[in-house]
């Protein structure tokens, strides 16, 4: 073999190894989710195939006893409001910062920038008191407000796009008698579609997967979202790995579907979201 061929083989070997490392833990959990209670206690090895590959009993248990349906409902509710709020607030901020000159503009931009450096986890002790003070503790509004209020990433994504929209468009609209609000609503906002798509994807995934905020702010059993409901499997199902596995797969499946459908946009979203 030539040196090139050896190098190529090594490259593929490393890729296959990485694929195994990623897929094996997930695959095993999927297999486990299809096993029966008896198979599990009977010492069926982790890598063994289930006796009946169409045994969806664990999924039914996970869905009903784990209250996954209401968890999906709560998550969807939070997603809709948090995303709508983020899009609206992010685009308004970007429009105001980019299209107007006003006093204290530098200060305000600096405030947004600085906030980007503060990791959310460090300030929760005090944020908690404020959320509590508003009476939002243990309601769906706590995470909604927090997701909307701390999102600097989306402001940046919008800012990039607003800058690329020619100012001449605003000006010609202004000559036609449009005021700032009309311009924002009729010109800027519709032209921001690609940015909105990016923000919806990035934000949607973040909110769907977040554990910390719902865990701290919505402790009551009836207010489980996807993450916290799944987390609660740990207690009652303790050693019942087949049920826990089914729960985990139920949570992963929507992500997988969305990822396969929107792959390209998701990659773009993350590169845009993080490098700017």
């Amino acid at each position: 073999m030539t040196r090139r061929a050896v190098a190529r083989t090594l490259v593929y070997a490393s890729l296959v190894l990485a694929t195994l490392v990623v897929l094996l833990p997930l695959g095993v959990v999927f297999l486990t989710s299809l096993k029966t209670d008896r198979e599990m206690t009977g010492g069926s090895g982790a890598l063994a195939f289930p006796d009946d590959p169409l045994n969806f009993h664990n999924y039914v248990t996970a869905f009903q006893d784990g209250r996954m349906l209401s968890a999906f409902g709560h998550t969807a509710f939070i997603l809709v409001f948090a995303i709508a709020g983020t899009v609206l607030i992010g685009s308004m901020t970007a429009y105001a910062i980019d299209r107007f000159t006003f006093r204290f503009k530098k200060l305000i931009v600096a405030l947004f920038l600085l906030a980007a450096l503060v990791p959310g986890v460090t300030t929760q002790v005090a944020t908690f008191q404020i959320v509590n003070g508003f009476g939002m503790f243990d309601t769906l509004w706590a995470p909604i407000a927090l997701y909307m209020g701390t999102d600097i990433v989306s402001i940046y994504i919008f800012l990039q796009f607003v800058r690329s929209i020619p100012v001449s468009l605003d000006e010609s609209a202004r000559l036609d008698g449009a005021n700032a609000f009309t311009i924002y609503r009729k010109i800027i906002f519709p032209l921001l579609k690609p940015a909105i798509a990016t923000v919806v994807i990035v934000k949607g995934i973040t909110v769907y997967n977040d554990f910390y905020i719902p865990f701290l702010y919505m402790p009551s059993q009836d207010l489980g979202v996807i993450s916290t409901s799944l987390f609660r499997f740990k207690g009652p199902y303790g050693a019942h790995w087949e049920t826990i596995s089914a729960g985990a797969i139920v949570v992963i499946l929507p992500t997988l579907t969305v990822f396969l459908a929107l792959q390209r946009y998701i990659y773009n979203g993350f590169t845009k979201g993080a490098t700017r």
Partner: protein, 315 residues
């Protein structure tokens, strides 16, 4: 190593010279001055309420013995801080961050390797890209459970090792060293994909002619990497390092979900959450959180000083 989309490299404020507006009548001028503020009311209100007010309050709480509930609180000076720095068990959690820091380094190197090889022509490229990135999108709790089963006695890892004839009776999450290494490995598994995709994006924005030119000059792959790719992605690399350090210091989800902080896996954030919400020591927890925040800001600042984020333009 953290939920990274949240914190960003912060570049300069967009500069644009808006043409000076023609002198307008007074009423119109007032309205013009007010307009941007109307757009900014909601964002500013949220920013101040949920970011700046908490920081200010946190600083205030950190000098008190408040329990977070009772109306009474006493000013205690720097007592919380002395407690934090003298009670060694409160400080030990920082050593746990060491595991995550090492993991970050491994993760960055691996992400760089995969991003480089997958930016060249490779069969099934999109499949490999997808596989490497997907873990980043998975819910943290689900990941925690997947890996609890992975490290179980007789779980995935033991079964795989048995295939190779190695039968271990090692409890992977049983000793502090092994538990922390295992958890740090999980966080590599989880976050590698994000770094990989960021690097890949940066590498692909390097114009292809540069490689062709380099190849004509007889540069091999390593030289191409060293002289074209590495400088081309420096800004993203800097960002990744900052995010990794702050992520390692504030690791929470994976250790909390998997071990709850048992067997020496308690991280700084787990400890803070426990102090604040289980033991009602809001004052002490605030001091701890503030120390963490200052360390992270310091690291970010140092990083920026040491590696100035000058834009590298290759064209």
């Amino acid at each position: 190593m953290t939920d990274t989309t949240a914190r960003l490299s912060v570049t300069k404020e967009p500069v644009r010279n808006t043409p000076a507006p023609a002198p307008a009548p007074r009423r119109a001028r007032v309205r013009r001055h007010l307009t941007p503020w109307i757009f900014l009311i909601a964002p500013l209100a949220l920013l101040i309420t949920f970011t700046y007010a908490p920081i200010v309050n946190m600083i205030a709480y950190s000098f008190t013995d408040w329990d977070g509930v009772s109306p009474e609180l006493h000013y205690t000076g720097v007592e919380n801080y002395t407690e934090l720095f003298t009670r060694s068990e409160l400080f030990e959690v920082f050593f746990v961050s060491g595991y995550y820091l090492v993991a970050s380094a491994i993760q960055i190197v691996a992400a760089l390797y995969f991003a480089t090889i997958l930016s060249f022509d490779v069969r099934f490229r999109n499949f490999f890209k997808g596989v490497l990135f997907f873990p980043y999108l998975i819910n943290g709790v689900a990941i925690g459970f997947v890996f609890l089963y992975f490290f179980q006695d007789g779980g995935t890892l033991d079964s795989v090792l048995a295939l190779f004839g190695y039968h271990s009776d090692h409890a992977w999450l049983g000793t502090p060293f092994s538990a922390n290494s295992s958890l740090a490995a999980v966080s590599i598994w989880r976050y590698l994909g994000l770094n990989f995709v960021l690097f890949l994006g940066a590498i692909q924005s390097i114009p292809g002619e540069l490689y062709e030119a380099a190849e004509l000059d007889g540069a091999n792959r390593w030289q191409q990497f060293r002289h074209i790719i590495a400088p081309g992605i420096r800004p993203v690399l800097t960002l990744t390092v900052i995010l990794s350090v702050s992520g390692s210091l504030s690791a929470f989800e994976i250790p909390y979900i998997m071990t709850g902080g048992a067997t020496g896996t308690e991280t700084f954030v787990i400890q803070t959450v426990k102090l604040a919400f289980q033991f009602n020591k809001t004052g002490l927890a605030s001091a701890a959180a503030l120390v963490l925040l200052l360390i992270i800001l310091l690291v970010t600042w140092l990083q920026r000083r040491l590696v100035p984020d000058d834009k590298v333009d290759l064209v």
